[in-house]
Symmetry: C2
Subunit: 214 residues, 2 copies
């Protein structure tokens, strides 16, 4: 089994590392980080780079594809070679997945048309503009397409996939070893729970404007 | 403000990236990944490397130190130059922190003697062997020392630190933007919650044996 995690300039690190930390533990699976060019790929803050071991042309038939999001996703929405790669690879996958605004890349490639999917809460309208049907759940499964909400939701998605790829007992053992017993010190992790003025401020600053929606 | 995150061969990626994803958003903070040698540092699975931008000698007085854990931590327990660096840097920090078995490195450097601290649940006895007083909480603060439980607990620690470094409102805004509203598909994230036979199996396979405890 091959699990491919896409990287691109200005991705969000936790989008990729959350599911990775769960999925690299799948017995017998090879996990590969893949990008247009092999070598370090800088994340959104430029303080961190993750190493891409393979180029797109070297990974053509993974069993599982994970597409992260991040500010750099916008530039990739019109990157035709990348969108072509997503379509090619998707034809071979058992599971095609995304975290955060990674779902916009899948949607731009035409892979989520008419499908229930999710994204970062600020990007749900844009996701609809690309033909998907936004759902408010943290992890949304529609056929072989599994999309997660913003950034940290990739950990929950990773465990869901671990259960599907192996079994519940394996997923539970990974949850135990990664001690994923979350106890956030605040309760502001969704627009329904956060203080209303923080939600409004975030909407005001959002890069997801009508310009990007089709 | 400088936030330094240590990397070493065979660290656990999420230990470092969890707090990073929260803390790099602190306004005005410079986040630096630091290791004995600059360049890519491979994590425990070898499938992922994170780039260290600076060497130990280039980072001498960070305001915040974050020490991850991982299987490679054992080899670092007797790395005297690294332990010396931890002691030197600690003299300058406002917060000295760890995730997972990173607390064993702080303890081996003598920084947690007599202090309440935590670690991965499998390493709590070893932590006691190095002079700390293990506490069962997910994030433990004793003076300027903040230690987190296993792997994923670094996200909770990051938010706690964000509240201390800036304020509650900022920490809540980061929680909202990272959509940290955890909904694990299983409830097996601690030895108290996981099926007993999985806990026993994990204990049986643990690298934390009497050999490593002093």
């Amino acid at each position: 089994m091959q699990i491919a995690i896409l990287l691109f300039d200005r991705f969000t690190s936790l989008d990729a590392v959350g599911p990775y930390e769960i999925l690299h533990r799948v017995p017998g699976a090879e996990t590969v980080f893949v990008a247009e060019h092999a070598g370090p790929v800088h994340d959104e803050s430029r303080a961190l780079s993750l190493g891409a071991a393979r180029t797109l042309s070297e990974v053509t038939a993974p069993d599982v594809l994970v597409v992260p999001g991040g500010p750099g996703q916008s530039a990739q929405m019109t990157n035709e070679p990348l969108l072509d790669w997503l379509r090619t690879v998707d034809a071979a996958t058992t599971w095609t997945t995304s975290v955060c605004t990674g779902s916009l890349l899948l949607a731009a490639a035409g892979l989520l048309t008419g499908r229930r999917a999710t994204s970062h809460w600020l990007a749900l309208d844009t996701l609809r503009g690309y033909g998907a049907e936004p759902a408010g759940e943290r992890v949304v499964t529609d056929g072989k397409y599994v999309t997660a909400a913003g950034v940290s939701a990739g950990i929950d998605m990773g465990l869901t996939l671990a259960g599907s790829l192996v079994d519940d007992r394996f997923a539970q053992s990974v949850q135990l070893m990664t001690e994923y017993d979350p106890q956030p010190p605040y309760d502001a992790g969704s627009p329904a729970k956060a203080p209303a003025n923080l939600v409004e401020k975030a909407r005001g600053r959002s890069r997801f404007t009508a310009r990007q929606a089709r």
